[in-house]
């Protein structure tokens, strides 16, 4: 069999026959254009080939080297959320026609993907209460960077005001994207209750800015007064960009668009996308219709075929890199299509009532946990502002130490804020979702109470 491999049909016999047809003596002749000096003379220094059984064993060993606590007693959030995904979601995205197809450049044989994205765009618009949505961005963080660039494109002021209650990694990524485009990111500090003070926003916006950026619910779990902030932005001629990292909240919270936000973007991993150690995730971006032609990324639109049948196509591609090159609205090409499909199926399966219930349960469980923990010995809830499904707890000891201690007992109590704010070493961001049963919450509160 020579080196015949299961992923490669051509047998040695096939190769020889094809070489004859091509009219060359050997495979090597096909590589004649690579200078001899550059040809690799020895085999690569990597393992394999592995039979499939060994491959599965190898990866199972790696997976077992993780400790996932069977998904129990985890209270981690901070930009990624553990939610239950109905089995139909994975079942449907596992249709090879969905996951093994390319970007739908040829609409006649890609209507499945195109219609699904059109529906996804609609769902995002309904959720955010805005006019338009693109087909996805890499993740919430890069979506923010692109959102800021979009705001600057339509209203160049070389300055944006950004709340410090926005996810730290989102700020980091935005800083990287903006580093060489001379747009200043002016920080806006949150107040003691955990939210941005609209008056402070007014002040910060006084010295011109293209956009005000806030997160809602914000990184500390608190809900912002979006309406007031929108007014502040509008008065200063700036756009309001609302970042959402936990879109489940929009099951009960107003779509920021209806509160005056111009751009709503963020991370939709919560909608059925596996945690998968941080990716692939799903950046989403919605905006008012005036942003249509400066939107980054793919857009799917309705079209009619030669017989007048309704169909869907990639559209307004004159915004994009393959046409506009360096003048494009973004360099994004491959995006997160399958994750958008995942989120759409998740939203469709939960539906109007289901998403509301999901949000209700998340909030109720977090409210319960917050209450229990507030009364735990030595622990205090840091912020007074209302929260959705996460909140900051100040511990009697260093949060890192607390995490280590509870980890031993099979609990991941939350995210130590020191990971992003070294000085806040006793603060723990606790996230509670529908997958945390009351018993887990009670145990968490009890264990936290034992730290003092």
């Amino acid at each position: 069999m020579g080196d015949a491999h299961r992923y490669i049909p051509a047998s040695d016999a096939d190769r020889d026959a094809m070489l004859r047809e091509i009219g060359v003596a050997s495979i090597d002749d096909l590589f004649a254009s690579i200078p001899q000096s550059l040809r690799l003379t020895r085999g690569l220094d990597i393992a394999g080939p592995l039979a499939e059984s060994d491959l599965v064993a190898e990866l199972s060993v790696l997976a077992r080297a993780n400790r996932d606590l069977d998904g129990r007693s985890q209270f981690l959030g901070g930009g990624a959320y553990r939610h239950f995904a109905p089995s139909v979601v994975d079942h449907l995205i596992s249709r090879t026609e969905f996951y093994s197809s390319y970007t739908p450049y040829q609409p006649e044989i890609s209507q499945g993907t195109l219609q699904a994205i059109f529906e996804y765009q609609t769902l995002i618009c309904q959720l955010t209460e805005l006019d338009i949505s693109n087909a996805s961005m890499y993740d919430g963080a890069s979506a923010l960077a692109e959102g800021i660039l979009m705001a600057e494109r339509t209203n160049p002021r070389r300055r944006v005001v950004v709340s410090d209650a926005v996810h730290p990694e989102y700020l980091q990524v935005s800083r990287t994207y903006l580093a060489n485009l001379d747009v200043e990111m002016a920080p806006l500090a949150h107040r003691e209750d955990g939210t941005v003070d609209p008056k402070a926003a007014v002040a910060a916006l006084a010295s011109k800015a293209s956009a005000l950026v806030v997160q809602h619910p914000n990184f500390f779990g608190c809900l912002e007064d979006v309406t007031a902030l929108a007014r502040a932005a509008r008065d200063a001629g700036a756009a309001l960009i609302v970042v959402v990292t936990e879109p489940v909240a929009l099951g009960i919270l107003k779509g920021p668009g209806s509160q005056g936000a111009d751009i709503v973007l963020g991370e939709a991993q919560s909608f059925g996308v596996p945690l998968s150690y941080g990716g692939p995730y799903l950046g989403f971006m919605a905006a008012r219709k005036n942003y249509l032609r400066s939107m980054p990324g793919r857009l799917v639109g309705e079209a009619l075929d030669a017989d007048g049948r309704r169909g869907y196509v990639l559209t307004l591609s004159t915004r994009e890199q393959h046409i506009r090159r360096e003048k494009a609205t973004s360099n994004i090409c491959t995006n997160e299509g399958l994750c958008a499909l995942t989120a759409a199926i998740f939203m469709a399966t939960l539906g109007k009532a289901g998403l509301r219930d999901l949000a209700r349960h998340n909030h109720a469980k977090a409210a319960y946990a917050r209450e229990r923990i507030a009364s735990a010995k030595g622990c205090s809830v840091l912020h007074a502002a209302p929260v959705f499904n996460e909140f900051v707890v100040r511990l009697p000891i260093a949060a890192e130490a607390a995490v280590a201690a509870l980890g031993e007992r099979g609990i991941l109590p939350g995210l130590p804020l020191s990971r992003y704010f070294p000085e806040r070493d006793r603060d723990l961001l606790v996230t509670v979702t529908e997958v945390n049963p009351r018993a887990e919450i009670d145990r968490l509160a009890a264990e936290l109470g034992r730290l003092a």
Partner: protein, 496 residues
């Protein structure tokens, strides 16, 4: 001739929706339900206006039917040039879903994710071995983001040298993401025109190269599927003036285990795991675009990096000159797991056979079609071959028509009208996943279409004829964009 099915086309989710239908249920709430959520009433919405209401059964039917309107790699040849549409091993889908991976939260303490960290560490080592680079970052979510990371590291490098420089040189045959990424990197883009061979014009480069040029962004093999024969001289020229070489690695499938970017004078390059290393394209992503660098660029890698200490693995943020982050957390880990499995499944011999066969298949197609279809550049073909529609012009048939007609023969078309330096380009990349029989079927279809173009051009110009829907009015769609459904009740916001 057979009539199209009489079943009406699939409605939109929102059109199928009916009040009161449920597709899911939650367990009973086991904690007190705070009165109207004790949240400010002003923050709350009444209901998700327009959101669908469907039973699970209907959701499954809707998406199952939609799926059948798609072409896919598991249905046949998918010769999209530059996209490397290869077989996506099923076992990779399985292993990526192992609970330990799929369920791991990115905020978990390192002690809880040693398996994941080891996978990322080992994958980085493998990519270094394959590409001859010193280090890789796995953070970029796709090739274009990899380009951006590369350009930013280049800039950081020059800044450290005291001058960021101004220009990025890019061949006119390059992919659109190259100039777009260079632009976000804060550089002026300057095109260099390809020579008659379709390659970089070394003389022109020598003339232009100066110390205002930060980097030459090169695709190798280039988008014509041609290996840059003078790559060494090119690199020397650029390096001589203190410039760097960025390689767009989208076409790496052409020479894995046969040659290495690191040996060609490349200082930094990205890969597309969703091309060369078989992670599924998902109808438009996710992908992953790791970036490899030589030592001098190491200080600028994005954070965090994965470091091994003894038998433990940790995330290091200690990289003072890092460009920072371009994506939250650690990139598309799920794709890393798949690529890791793919590389191990193939091993050194398998990877070599992969590229050998990819090049073999492309040359086979070239051989079978070059007598009929015009070959604008007859330079040696690597993993893909680019034809033009010149020979069809006489019959008023264009590349687009050939592409559409291919659908009637049961194939996904090739990439068309790219690279831009070829008028009416047809860019064909078969990959190693195709059997000779499948290639022959494709060749027959292409030859039949050329014949039809002569005999019955109208048949080709009006293709496709066998698809669930016919050619769509893309101009009309862009002129009056409808980007979302709105209930016939509500006024439709005429977007734009």
């Amino acid at each position: 001739m057979q009539p199209r099915t009489l079943r009406p086309p699939e409605k939109l989710l929102f059109e199928v929706s009916r009040p009161g239908r449920r597709g899911s249920a939650l367990p009973p709430l086991d904690v007190p339900d705070p009165e109207r959520y004790d949240l400010p009433a002003a923050y709350l919405r009444d209901e998700l206006d327009g959101f669908p209401e469907l039973s699970e059964t209907e959701v499954v039917r809707h998406y199952t039917r939609l799926s059948r309107l798609n072409y896919a790699i598991d249905l046949g040849l998918y010769p999209l040039g530059s996209c490397t549409m290869k077989y996506n091993p099923k076992v990779n889908e399985q292993v990526a879903r192992i609970a330990g991976f799929g369920g791991a939260h990115p905020q978990m303490p390192e002690a809880f994710v040693q398996g994941n960290l080891r996978l990322m560490h080992d994958l980085e080592r493998m990519l270094c071995a394959i590409c001859g680079m010193d280090r890789f970052t796995l953070q970029p979510a796709a090739g274009a983001q990899g380009e951006l990371v590369g350009i930013m590291m280049v800039r950081a490098y020059h800044v450290k040298q005291g001058n960021p420089r101004k220009v990025v040189l890019i061949p006119d045959s390059a992919h659109g993401t190259n100039p777009a990424s260079a632009h976000i990197g804060g550089y002026k883009v300057e095109q260099i025109t390809s020579n008659r061979k379709g390659c970089v014009d070394l003389e022109a480069l020598r003339r232009r190269m100066a110390d205002d040029v930060a980097v030459l962004m090169l695709t190798n093999p280039n988008t014509l599927g041609v290996f840059e024969p003078e790559i060494e001289a090119i690199a020397a020229t650029v390096h001589a003036k203190g410039g760097l070489i960025y390689m767009d690695g989208a076409n790496l499938n052409a020479f894995v285990a046969l040659a290495r970017p690191g040996d060609m004078g490349v200082d930094v390059h990205h890969l597309n795991l969703h091309k060369t290393f078989s992670t599924p394209h998902g109808g438009g992503g996710p992908g992953a675009g790791p970036v490899g660098v030589k030592k001098p660029l190491e200080p600028f890698l994005p954070i965090p990096t994965v470091e091994k200490e003894g038998d433990r693995y940790r995330l290091s943020h200690d990289r003072p000159h890092s460009i920072g982050k371009v994506r939250s957390f650690f990139g598309n880990f799920g794709m890393h797991a798949r690529a890791y499995a793919y590389i191990l499944a193939l091993g050194p011999q398998g990877l070599r056979r992969m590229s050998e066969t990819a090049v073999l298949n492309a040359n086979y197609i070239r051989r079978k079609l070059e007598k009929v279809y015009h070959l604008p550049y007859d330079s040696p073909t690597m993993h893909e071959v680019v034809f033009s529609d010149r020979n069809l012009e006489a019959h008023g048939v264009q590349t687009l028509d050939v592409a559409k007609r291919l659908m009637d023969y049961g194939f996904h078309p090739m990439t068309i009208y790219f690279p831009l330096i070829v008028k009416g380009a047809m860019m064909i990349e078969p990959t190693e996943s195709e059997s000779r029989e499948e290639l022959d079927l494709f060749v027959e279809a292409m030859l039949a279409i050329a014949e039809e173009a002569r005999r019955d051009p109208e048949l080709v110009r009006t293709a496709p004829h066998t698809t669930p829907i016919r050619r769509l009015d893309e101009v009309g769609a862009a002129r009056n964009p409808v980007l979302r459904w709105v209930s016939s009740g509500a006024p439709r916001p005429e977007a734009g």
